[in-house]
Subunit: 162 residues, 4 copies
C-alpha cells in the first residue's frame, strides 16, 4: 500500500519567523514528522502549496482536485488549514473520485508547544487505510465524511452537521 | 460512541526521575495527552497497571483480559510496552471477545523529545472506530491483527508475520 | 540574596491562541520557567505588564522605573520585548538607581520550539549576581551596559554600539 | 573574548536509545544548543569525553586539567555530570590555573522534557564573562566557587558548604 501525502499549508506547517514575530510558512515539517512517527507505510510526499486556507482561491482547490485525480496512489492524505478544510473536502467529494482521501490539519502548529499535529496525522493515516473510497476529514479524534462535517468556530472543533 | 482507554505502562508513559537518573513510572501522561489532542470522542481513562511490559506476568495479562471482558464499552484502547505487546494481543485475541480492541505504545517516551507517542495514539484511536471486532496492534502507522503481527527487534518496528 | 523578577511581556511570554491563530498574551510562563530551572535563588515574581514592547508608552516605562525605585530588593530582573528594550534600559540607566538591573527577553517565545527563552533567563540571572549596580541587557549570551547596547534589527541580535 | 566549551558528558548530553530503552551517549547536543541560544560570543567547542561522571577516573580528570592548562582561551566552560562535578572542580581549583573556569551540567537531559540544560548553560556563560580567574560551578541559578560548593544528593541541588 502506497500513500500520497499532499501538503497545502495551514496552521500545522507554520513556523515562527523571529525577524518579524509572525507565524509564517517556510518549508513543510513533514519530512521530520514522518521520520519521528517511525512509519512503515510507504508515504510519497508532495508539496502542492504552502498557504493559509483563508487565502486559498478556486485555482488552488482545482490544483488539489487535479492532483488527486492524477495520483497513481489510491490512498491520499491532504494537509489543510482548518478554516476552509470543509470547502475543499466538498469540492473533492462532489467530484466522486474513486480513491480514499483524508484531509487533516491542526489547531496548533507542529512547531508550537502543546500541538495536536502529530495526533491528527496519526489519526488520519490510521483511518485512511481502513476507509472505503470517499473524502473524509480527520480532526479531534474523529473521522467524518465530507457530507457530514463542519467546523464549529466558536468551539474550535470539527463536528457532524446534525 | 464511547472508548475505554486502559493504561498498563510501557515506554510511552515513562518519565525521567532526576534523583536517580532512571526512566521510571510515576503517573500516566494520558490526561495531558487527551487534552492536547483536542479529542471530541468520549474517552474513559482507566489505569490498570504502570509497568514495563518485560515485567508483565500472567496475572497482569489476566487482569487486562478480565477488564476487557467486563468493559461496558465495545471499543477499547490499551497502552502497552512494546516488548510483549504481541503476547498480550494474542491472549486477548484467542479469547474471542466481541469487542474492538487496539493496543499501542511508543518507541520513545512521551516525555522525551522526538517521541512517537502522540502519533501512535492518533493512529490507534482513528482506526479503532473503523475496525470490526477483534484485537489489533497500531504501531508504525500500520494497524495489524493479532494473528499477523510481530515486533522485529533488530529494526525496532512492528510488522506482519509473512 | 533576593531577586525581584518584573514581568512586562514581550515575545518571551507570548502563547499561541488557537481560536484566532495569533501569538498573544494570556499569563506569564515564569512560574513554570522558574520551577523548571530548579533555581535556589530567592526570586520574587511581579507581573507589571503583559504587552508587546512596541505598544509600550511613556506611562508604562514610568511604571517600570517607579517599581525599580521602590523595590526592596537590590537585584532586579525585567522581562521585556526586544524591540524597545534598549529604550527602557536607557530610561532606567539615566535615573541612576543604586541597584543592579538586568533586562532580558527572547527572539522566540518560550512556548515555541527552538526558543532561546530559558538560555537568556539563565544568562540574566547568572550575571545579575555578579554585576555592580547599573542597568544592563543580557541577550545573545552577552551582558551589555545600557550606554553601550543596540538591537541590530537586520541581524536580530543585540550588540555593542561601537 | 573567546570561550572554550569543553564537553565531558553527564546527564545534560544523554539521549534516549530506543533500541534498548536506555539513556546513553551518542554525540553532544551542543552544536544545536549553541545555535538555539543565538550566541554572539565566540565559542570554540571541544569534545573531550562523553561519559557519566560516576564513570570518570583519575586519567579523565587529568585530561580535563591538561586541556584547561593548554587552552589558549582564558575563559573555559566545562559540561560535567553532576555526581562528581565538585570533585573535578576541586582538582582544577587546586591547580591554581590563571583562567576563569565554570563547570555546569543539568539535572534533566537536554533531550527530555522540562530540562534545565539551557538555563544552566545561560547561567554559566553569563557569569563566566564577569568572574575573576578561578574555578566555579554554575547550577540552580547560583555561581559558587569550588571551595564552597557541594551537591546535596537528597535535595538534588548544589549549595554552599556552610
Amino acid at each position: 500500500m502506497k500513500v500520497r501525502l499532499m501538503i497545502t499549508g495551514g496552521t500545522i506547517d507554520k513556523f515562527y519567523n523571529q525577524s518579524n514575530g509572525e507565524l509564517e510558512f517556510d518549508k513543510t515539517h513533514f519530512p521530520e514528522i514522518i521520520e519521528r512517527s517511525r512509519i512503515e507505510v510507504d508515504v510519497i510526499l508532495e508539496e502542492l502549496l504552502l498557504i493559509d486556507s483563508l487565502d486559498m482561491v478556486d485555482a488552488d482547490r482545482q490544483l488539489i482536485l487535479d492532483k488527486c485525480k492524477k495520483s497513481e496512489e489510491d490512498f491520499i492524505l491532504i494537509t489543510h488549514g482548518t478554516d476552509t478544510m470543509c470547502e475543499t473536502a466538498k469540492l473533492l467529494g462532489e467530484s466522486s473520485i474513486d480513491k480514499t482521501i483524508v484531509l487533516f490539519g491542526s489547531m496548533v502548529p507542529y512547531a508550537v508547544s502543546n500541538s495536536d499535529a502529530l495526533f491528527n496525522f496519526g489519526c488520519a493515516l490510521g483511518s485512511l487505510q481502513l476507509l472505503e473510497s470517499g473524502v473524509y476529514i480527520a480532526m479531534n479524534g474523529r473521522v467524518l465524511p465530507w457530507q457530514d462535517v463542519e467546523k464549529n468556530r466558536s468551539l474550535g472543533v470539527f463536528q457532524p452537521l446534525s
